[in-house]
């Protein structure tokens, strides 16, 4: 059988990078919040980042179903939502761990030991500290990733655990944080 050429694959559409979410159900509360947010702008499309945040807060990532809902809400083309999910680093295309550990890697934090801290998290969680992008521990409890400057360079190294912000994090504090998280039911 001959290999498909560069051009012959045209019939096969590129796979949508977003995961499916069979549990995507929009509550009345989310509908109301969405309507409120849309009312803040003269043009509906402007609300898209805010809706993506609302979805990710509730469902953990942006699924194909979530995009379909936003598309209908804002009367947009699916590609115009998808291209945002792939552009803005905060939006996740796949589920992540229950606790997302974001370690700042930019200069002031690097000088303050961010790479050592990242290595520490990775080795404790059985992750590869050389791998690119977000990694999730086998038990699904933790995701670890490097992020860029979190605007707290005076208290390096800094870390975000979900929405909580931690300053001047030592490896010992990292261990305590992980222990604390493990006690929280998933």
């Amino acid at each position: 059988m001959s290999e498909p050429t560069e051009f012959s694959s045209a019939s096969k559409p590129t796979a949508n990078p977003l995961a499916h979410d069979a549990h995507f159900v929009v509550s009345a509360e989310l509908e109301a919040e969405a309507s409120e947010l849309i009312s803040h702008y003269p043009e509906k499309r402007s609300a898209v980042l805010m809706l993506l945040h609302e979805v990710q807060e509730r469902f953990g990532y942006i699924s194909q179903e979530a995009v379909a809902w936003i598309v209908a809400k804002l009367e947009m083309q699916p590609i115009h939502v998808l291209e945002l999910v792939t552009f803005y680093p905060m939006f996740r295309q796949q589920p992540a761990g229950q606790f997302q550990v974001k370690i700042c890697r930019t200069l002031s934090c690097a000088l303050g030991g961010a790479y050592e801290l990242h290595h520490h998290f990775c080795s404790r969680l059985g992750l590869d500290d050389q791998a690119h992008g977000i990694q999730t521990s086998k038990d699904g409890k933790f995701s670890v990733e490097f992020v860029e400057c979190l605007a707290s360079c005076g208290t390096a190294p800094v870390v975000m655990v979900n929405e909580d912000f931690r300053e001047g994090v030592t490896t010992q504090q990292a261990d305590e944080m992980m222990a604390q998280c493990r006690k929280t039911k998933g």
Binding site: P42, L84, P89, L107, S108, A151
Partner: protein, 462 residues
């Protein structure tokens, strides 16, 4: 000994000071707005009548206030460029994206004194006939977004925002818009695209100057958090008194974010130009000096995009002599007044007023590699020189810091950087080129030594 001068940070971090509206009101909050909104039309000497908003715009111009976000452009002048005859609505956006590496001053205001920003914004909006404004908060500040949301609701409940503000007949709404982790949203036209629900691709200027074709192609003002806070103080103090703070052409106060190898990193508010770089780093009430046993190697004076200074550098600066004539004087790096003009005259910039200090333990090639990785990650990708060049530079520096340096790398990096600057849609092109150009020009021997050492080890030479 020079001291901090806390105007914006006056209440922040004081015992018992909280971010709720009652606390703000107890500390004289919204008094400037009350004063501004009742300004009566005034007859000028030439017989023209000047409205209240026009008077505020004049005050801001007379105060000499320069933008605190990065470019240091006159706020009054920026406001004067707004197209007021188009018949379109005028928008104002507060840039709370705070994402220039090294910078952490707006964070303090947003979390600890949100009403100061809101008051500054309402006055600025009133002065510019703005009816709808946004605060663009970076996505990684979820707490700030919540705090601001509550603060806006409280301000609305007390009549400082919404319909018929303080009975004046003036209506204004302010909403929060959250970014999602992209540095380029700090660039004002990228920010506007992002607010329109698109990728944050900066727009080309001309023709898309925000003052004429901004948000929804309407005239738009984009100002930094700290800039807008200053407006409140300009009203309270009056332009003349405000302009006495700081130094000529560099008026007022400024919050400096100090990080890296100092004993007391933190945010320090100073009168612009009244404190030197050396005092900021070594002063007991500022950085407190380097760690014990360490000496200074380099200073990044205005956020990661500013050109680096090497310890021991001297500059020739023009100063007004005692007789009023301009004379050229020699100024040591550490004696450079921390202001807009001196740092520019010394070949760098005060940018976002973020000072990153590097001591002699720093591997300079590694430090540049770190910054270049940031820019490679953050390029929006519209312009080929920036998208490709930032990645080439980062890859070369990665190789150099992983045992594969070559002697000609320094020249290669300079060539790449030089081919980016001036050839891109937005100033990110310069932001990613300048660190490379300045690090290599000032520490060339370290880049070359790495190349020689690695080539000797692998037995190759090119």
């Amino acid at each position: 000994m020079p001291q901090e001068f806390r105007l914006i940070l006056k209440n922040i971090d004081q015992p018992g000071y909280t971010n709720d509206i009652e606390c703000y009101l107890r500390h004289g909050g919204y008094e400037a707005l009350k004063q501004a909104i009742v300004l009566k039309p005034k007859a000028l000497p030439d017989g023209k009548i000047q409205t209240g908003p026009e008077q505020i715009r004049d005050e801001v111009k007379a105060s000499g206030l320069r933008g605190r976000g990065g470019a240091g452009f006159s706020a009054g002048l920026k406001w004067s460029f707004v197209d007021r005859r188009s018949g379109k609505p005028i928008y104002l956006i507060c840039n709370a994206d705070e994402s220039e590496p090294g910078t952490f001053k707006d964070r303090q205001i947003l979390h600890k004194d949100p009403h100061q920003l809101i008051e500054g914004m309402v006055i600025s909006c009133y002065a510019n006939d703005v009816k709808l404004a946004y605060i663009y908060v970076r996505g990684e500040f979820p707490d700030a977004a919540r705090i601001l949301k509550k603060a806006l609701a409280d301000a609305r409940a007390q009549g400082f925002l919404g319909k018929n503000i303080l009975g004046s007949g003036y209506d204004l709404e302010i909403f929060i818009h959250r970014g999602a982790g992209a540095y380029i949203c700090g660039e004002e036209t990228g920010l506007i695209e992002s607010l329109e629900g698109k990728r944050a691709y900066p727009r080309i200027k001309p023709p898309y100057f925000p003052a004429i074709l901004g948000l929804y192609m309407c005239p738009t003002i984009v100002n930094n958090v700290e800039t807008l806070c200053h407006v409140r103080h300009i009203i309270t103090l009056g332009a003349a008194k405000y302009a006495q703070l700081g130094t000529p052409n560099n008026t007022g106060t400024r919050i400096v974010s100090l990080s890296g190898h100092v004993k007391r990193p933190g945010y320090y508010e100073i009168e612009v130009g009244k404190v030197s770089l050396g005092q900021l780093i070594n002063g007991a009430n500022f950085g407190g000096g380097l760690r014990d046993g360490r000496s200074l190697k380099a200073i990044i004076p205005g956020g990661s995009s500013s050109k680096v200074f090497r310890a021991g550098e001297k500059f020739k600066l023009k100063r007004k002599g005692a007789d009023g004539q301009m004379v050229t004087v020699d100024v040591d790096l550490l004696d450079l007044p921390y202001d807009f003009d001196s740092l520019q005259a010394a070949g760098s910039m005060s940018g976002s007023s973020a000072v990153i200090v590097l001591d002699d333990s720093t591997d300079i090639v590694k430090a540049l590699a770190n910054l270049s990785e940031f820019y490679a990650h953050e390029s929006c990708g519209q312009c080929t020189p920036c998208r490709e060049g930032s990645l080439w530079m980062s890859k070369a520096l990665h190789r150099m810091t992983h045992g594969g340096a070559r002697k000609q790398d320094a020249d290669y990096l300079i060539k790449t950087a030089t081919n980016i600057q001036g050839r891109t849609i937005c100033a990110f092109g310069e932001a990613c080129a300048w660190p490379v150009i300045s690090f290599i020009n000032k520490f060339r021997e370290e880049f070359e030594a790495k190349g020689e050492a690695d080539e000797a080890k692998s037995g190759t030479s090119h």
